[in-house]
């Protein structure tokens, strides 16, 4: 290439770089009706149904709400701490995580970064005591995992099931632990219901569940039901395929949480009796609250945030079509509805209004608001 051409290329590249910088700056300005807030979100992964739903919802609202959301995944407490460090280094204003620990709070305190937990309340008293002492601890949101565990057993019992096997994720996952406890406690309330066996597997336990269900069916012929703490990551298909392999479709009933593709088929053939899901908007409400607090448009006055939501339960085939239409294939809350309860966009609203909107979440509520 001649010297002249090289000079021309260099000048063109400079212009291109300048142009891209100014266009990015312009883009930032365009969405900055409010101050841009950077939030780090620590999930367990974004390939399962719930994780993917979180990601999709953040993609839907982030730009409109002036949020830059960084999604990272971790499963152990050590990973959470390490990821919190990385997010703080990356310059986030706040962190949402599903397993908050005292070391994370310390890191956030030192860096002036806000911290919240989603998925479950803080159950450890020592951790709560540490969090209470921090100005950067904002609170939690939770869905009724414990109650949903109980609802699963109740549905099985009312269907006539009496000999139940419980499948779950290994202890240490707060959501699944609450569901597990709900299942066990509810089963214990019924004198004529027995937990004949249990198995707790890894996070991607579909193959293990498939194997163990076949073992349970072979060794416990009295088994008539399974309560499983989570259906995602292929667990639903694995368990129902295993039942099909041993010819127990429709004979052994399954109750679980986290609605998946193909749920309608399983509900129709009778192998799946109860499934709950649709809890993904929880993290959006929490992120909106965090952003409002960071911007200073919402002052909690030292009070801790404590959002409470619920699963949407489907028993039998009733309600699945509506669930699919309004919850799976659409966003249960649209941008305008969410902006109406965000003090950053509607100074006349309040924390209580946001709390009430999320707390009233149900299939009827979404149908009423989004009737098509």
């Amino acid at each position: 290439m001649s010297k002249k051409m090289k000079k021309l290329m260099a000048v063109l590249l400079c212009f291109a770089m300048l142009f891209s910088v100014t266009s990015v700056a312009q883009a930032k300005e365009d969405t900055a009706d409010v101050k841009q807030v950077s939030i780090g979100f620590i999930g367990w992964g974004y390939t399962d149904t719930l994780g993917a739903a979180y990601k999709e919802y953040f993609d839907y609202i982030a730009e409109e709400f002036g949020m830059n959301v960084t999604l990272v995944a971790g499963t152990t407490q050590e990973e959470h701490i390490s990821l919190a460090e990385d997010l703080i280094e990356a310059g986030v204003d706040g962190i949402l995580a599903y397993q908050v620990t005292s070391p994370m709070m310390k890191l956030c305190d030192e860096a002036g970064v806000y911290l919240m937990q989603f998925g479950s309340p803080i159950t450890d008293e020592d951790i709560q005591a540490n969090l209470d002492g921090s100005d950067y601890w904002l609170g939690t949101s939770s869905v009724d995992d414990y109650k949903s565990g109980q609802n699963m057993v109740e549905a099985l019992y009312e269907d006539g099931c009496r000999n139940m096997v419980v499948l779950g994720v290994a202890a240490g996952n707060p959501c699944h632990d609450l569901r597990w406890n709900g299942i066990m406690d509810k089963a214990a309330e019924y004198d004529d219901m027995t937990v004949i066996g249990e198995y707790r597997g890894g996070t991607a336990a579909a193959q293990e569940y498939s194997d163990q269900v076949q073992n349970f069916v072979a060794m416990y012929p009295e088994m008539d039901s399974i309560a499983m703490t989570g259906a995602s990551s292929g667990n639903l298909d694995a368990v129902l395929s295993a039942l099909d392999t041993v010819g127990m479709t429709g004979t052994v009933k399954l109750a679980t949480l986290d609605v998946q593709e193909g749920t309608d088929t399983y509900l129709e053939e009778g192998s799946l009796l109860f499934i709950g899901g649709g809890q993904h908007p929880e993290v959006i409400f929490l992120a909106i609250l965090m952003a409002d607090i960071i911007r200073g448009s919402l002052d909690m006055g030292g009070e801790e945030v404590s959002l409470v939501g619920q699963f949407i339960n489907i028993v039998g085939t009733d309600g699945y079509e509506e669930f699919k239409k309004y919850i799976m294939d659409d966003f249960p809350y649209y941008i305008e509805e969410l902006k109406a309860v965000s003090t950053s966009f509607n100074p006349d609203t309040s924390y209580q209004e946001l709390y009430d909107l999320w707390n009233s979440y149900s299939l009827d509520d979404v149908e009423t608001r989004h009737a098509k």
Binding site: G45, Y46, T47, D48, A52, A73, T75, A170, A171, I196, G197, E198, Y199, R200, G201, G202, T203, A204, A206, Q207, E208, S210, D211, Q212, Q214, N215, F216, V217, A218, M219, Y220, S232, S233, G234, D237, A238, L240, S241, A242, D244, T245, V246, E261, G262
Partner: protein, 325 residues
Amino acid sequence: MSKKLSNIVKCLILPIAVYVIFFVFSKGRFGSLPGMLAIGRQFVLYCLVGWALMHNQLMGVWDFTPGAVVALAGIIGGNIALSTNTGVAGLVVFCILSAVTLCLLTFFVFHFLKIPSMICGLGMVLIYEMLTTQLFGGTGVKLTKDITLLAKSPYCYVVLAVAGIILYILFNFTKNGANTRSLGYGQDIAMSIGVSLTKTRLKNFIIEGIFLGLAAVISSSQRGSIAPTLNMSTLSLGFDAIMGVFIGLNLVNNCNLVVGIVIGTFTMKMVSAGLIAMGLDSNLQSVAQGLFLLVFIGISSNKDAVSKYFADKKKSAEILAKIKA
């Protein structure tokens, strides 16, 4: 007792002992025909993975990728089979082709970049798991019932039997099998007499790919779907199969390694099922499985030392008796 019969007894002692122990302690819940058939169906997958790892394990190559290869090959092969409407045959062919390709990729990274096998394996696991979340929109694969035939008996046993016969021939009656054994016993010496490390490893990774492809077929058929996975969750499939390979390696003095892996894998699946039959808590199940393996390997690894100790003691006693006399 003839040597052959003695070897058969020594091989079967372990599974028979496990059967009896769990039958007794589960008060008869374990050991029924439906229960053993259920174990049989499960063990097919782990046996195929164990066989896949066999050649490389003998040569000291630790491969942690089986679970990730099974998942990714299942997703690729399953999606292609569904979109081409090629049924069970398509599932088998495309899963095998996918798995062989992935294993060859692992081979190239491991052999030519000279990265230690453990590190290479872990790195490739991360890559393959990431690919499960990226390919086909990150939705994995959901198989229709008509192509999950091979999960059911007797078809899964037919797959196992055919695969077993082919592997037995490859390991015992081919040049590659002999080269694998010689490289396993002494790599430097084998190479000095002209055995090609590159060619042998290449063929072994291809064999591994074929068997992992079959494992992908069985796994996806049993589960009805394969979901994307991350965070090294796929390692557990390889570890479960490796336990069977370890037992097989310890039985190698009494039976062929191919048969030894069958015995080892079936025994581990009996242990897993037996713990369920005993009604053991989930946490204790994992502890019990680990303890079982440690005890078995401990006894097996030290049986020669123990025999020598008693033989020496006997000899000392004989010498002392002669001196006194």
